[in-house]
């Protein structure tokens, strides 16, 4: 069988360029301020696990034009992930149970990171592990990569289960959250911010945020998915192969706004140290991005909306810029947490 009609061999229409230069014709400055070591030309990022490692999405828009590209969480070794079904559609959202399928850190460093660098993307690499030692080892191998200079920050996905501790999610427990960051922080050169990704599935998210910052995180990404189950009423069994899945999509946006609000309020009140928050959860439009910003987020990730619209990250950036332009707001970063003042 000689003729191979794989998609990559077919030359296609170019995707129209999206102008996301910092200050554009409307005069809006979209610069995102995530601390001294992370200034981005605009606040829009992909959410980890919703954009693979860039190549596929790059067919729909230039990933270098995003504020940053956040990679799929990578563990030490290759991961097959779970069996299927891996997803269920739910009202304004979905459940997923992928099981962190991925190539492992060595293959990531060999194939994916060089590609992200070659297209000029600012990479935020999401790391995961089943133990705090695995997190540290993944960080060490990443830092040793020849293309580490393409890495703008590291997102530490502590919202995955800690296998050693009865499957408890690290970010459900303050001590475990601190523990992971304590081991990762010494592996990473100063100047590379660490963002701890938190789950809203806790009684009180503020102590967890505090614990992650105490362990050495420079910022927080909020929120990861919420745990859910969908039962197939025909077969009368859980629909997902892995029984439970993570709920994402516009359905969880109010939860994201609440979590960001609570942590940002604690920072404003001086109850926990101030640190930048990257907002994520159900963002579909520029107005959604604005809402998370007003709650206290300094940058915004777009996740599940990409499955609906592969150009969503660029569209949301454009909509946000236009929204600010229409309202006569010159600087995006002035809006961070603004709803707390009114």
């Amino acid at each position: 069988m000689s003729v191979d009609w794989s998609t990559s061999d077919v030359a296609g229409d170019d995707v129209p360029a999206v102008d996301l230069t910092t200050v554009d014709v409307t005069g809006v400055d979209l610069t995102a301020d995530l601390g001294p070591n992370l200034q981005l030309p605009n606040p829009l990022m992909t959410a980890s696990g919703c954009a693979a490692n860039g190549k596929e999405l790059h067919r729909f828009g230039d990933v270098a034009q995003l504020g940053a590209f956040v990679t799929k969480s990578v563990k030490r070794d290759p991961q097959s992930g779970r069996g299927t079904p891996r997803m269920a559609e739910t009202p304004s959202g979905m459940l997923n149970s992928i099981g962190l399928q991925g190539p492992g850190i060595d293959a990531f460093v060999e194939h994916d990171l060089p590609w992200l660098k070659s297209v000029g993307a600012r990479a935020i690499v999401s790391i995961a592990g089943a133990s705090s030692g695995e997190f540290a080892e993944v960080a060490r191998r990443l830092v040793a990569a020849p293309d580490f200079d393409a890495v703008a920050a590291i997102e530490v996905n502590i919202s995955c289960p800690n296998v050693a501790n009865r499957g408890l999610v690290f970010a459900c427990d303050p001590a475990s959250s601190t523990g992971v960051l304590r081991l990762v922080a010494p592996e990473v050169p100063s100047g590379i911010p660490l963002l701890a990704k938190l789950t809203p599935d806790v009684t009180d998210i503020v102590p967890i945020a505090e614990a992650a910052l105490a362990g050495g995180a420079h910022g927080l990404t909020m929120i990861n998915t919420l745990l859910g189950i969908h039962i197939d009423t025909e077969r009368m069994r859980p629909h997902l192969f892995g029984t439970t899945g993570g709920l994402s999509g516009p359905a969880i946006r109010p939860v994201a706004v609440r979590a960001i609000w609570q942590v940002h309020a604690a920072m404003r009140a001086g109850r926990i140290p101030a640190a930048p928050i990257v907002g994520v959860g159900g963002v579909r439009t520029g107005q959604d991005a604005l809402e998370l910003t007003l709650a206290g987020a300094s940058a915004i990730q777009v996740g599940t909306a990409i499955f609906n619209d592969p150009s969503a990250p660029w569209r949301v950036a454009r909509e946000l810029r236009d929204l600010l332009g229409q309202r006569g707001i010159p600087r995006y970063r002035d809006l961070v947490g603004a709803a707390h003042q009114n």
Partner: protein
């Protein structure tokens, strides 16, 4: 922009036609960029319900055929749930967001000969276009179309008069009574076909794989795994597939498929609407 791996379009397509076809709807969409790029076996992914819809995930459909000159893409849609129900009700002139062409299409054998094309239910949708390409390349075409009942058969009237056509239905309401795989052994023996193409439910694809392999024929199958994005970013559509290195990996059927060399699919992992991770798969849980 240079150096971009595109080959895929996202477009707002106008509905240019929506006609009944047996139990299905045959939709014609204006999507010139996709019509120019598509190859048989590739698919498109449509959104459902407009930009504020609560149904977020895309629905995937095999491309029935394209007309690059007219700029149209045709699909055959079975109303299987809320999303497909919405799509089947689209009126002429309405529009829908479409991404495509997606995935890998069918491949052609090096040397012409007899080819057997098997479609179960709407699985026959991509087969007539493939037949045209094969015929132009000197192949003799033998279609086998099957369905549960006559109303679930698609396209028996679309087969070229030059091609052989065998029809089966489970209930005998049209053609031979039985499964679409039943006539296959006799057909492969009679024609000596070494190329088999199949699209339909997983059980059918597995049966076709076993029969084709037993007769020394190479089969390509179009799988239908639940897809959330269709573009390779969500990792929901995986199947265990054996690579050229002999290693089984959970492969995305939207980018590595939906067309697979039938013998590379780990059919042993597929059962009862679920696909397990084989113990020898790369990165399987220990």
């Amino acid at each position: 922009m240079t150096g971009r791996d595109t080959g895929v379009c996202q477009a707002t397509a106008r509905v240019a036609g929506n006609a009944p076809a047996a139990a299905y709807r045959h939709l014609t969409l204006d999507a010139p960029g996709i019509a120019q790029l598509a190859q048989p076996g590739q698919f498109v992914a449509l959104t459902v319900g407009g930009p504020t819809s609560a149904l977020l995930l895309r629905r995937s459909f095999s491309i029935h055929r394209v007309d690059p000159a007219a700029g149209t893409v045709e699909i055959v849609v079975s109303d299987a749930g809320p999303g497909t129900a919405w799509i089947t009700r689209l009126d002429d002139g309405e529009s829908v967001d479409i991404v495509g062409p997606l995935g890998r299409g069918f491949t052609l054998p090096d040397a012409p000969g007899a080819a057997v094309l098997i479609g179960g239910g709407y699985g026959s949708a991509p087969m007539f276009w493939l037949a045209n390409v094969l015929r132009e390349n000197g192949f003799a075409i033998h279609h086998v179309l099957g369905a549960a009942s006559a109303d679930r058969l698609f396209g028996a009237e679309l087969a070229d008069p030059a091609d052989e056509l065998i029809v089966t239905t489970d209930d005998g309401s049209q053609g031979e009574r039985g499964w679409v795989s039943d006539p296959l052994p006799g057909l492969l023996e009679r024609t000596g076909a070494k190329a088999v193409y199949a699209c339909g439910p997983m059980g059918m694809l597995r049966a076709v794989t076993e029969i084709a392999t037993a007769h020394g024929a190479r089969a390509e199958v179009a799988v239908e795994e639940a897809m959330a994005c269709g573009i390779g970013v969500c990792m929901t559509c995986v199947l265990p597939v054996v690579g050229a290195d002999g290693v089984t990996r959970m492969s995305r059927s939207c980018v590595d498929g939906p067309i697979f060399d039938a013998t590379t699919v780990r059919w042993d992992a597929v059962a009862g609407g679920r696909v397990a991770v084989p113990a020898d798969c790369l990165g399987a849980p220990r």
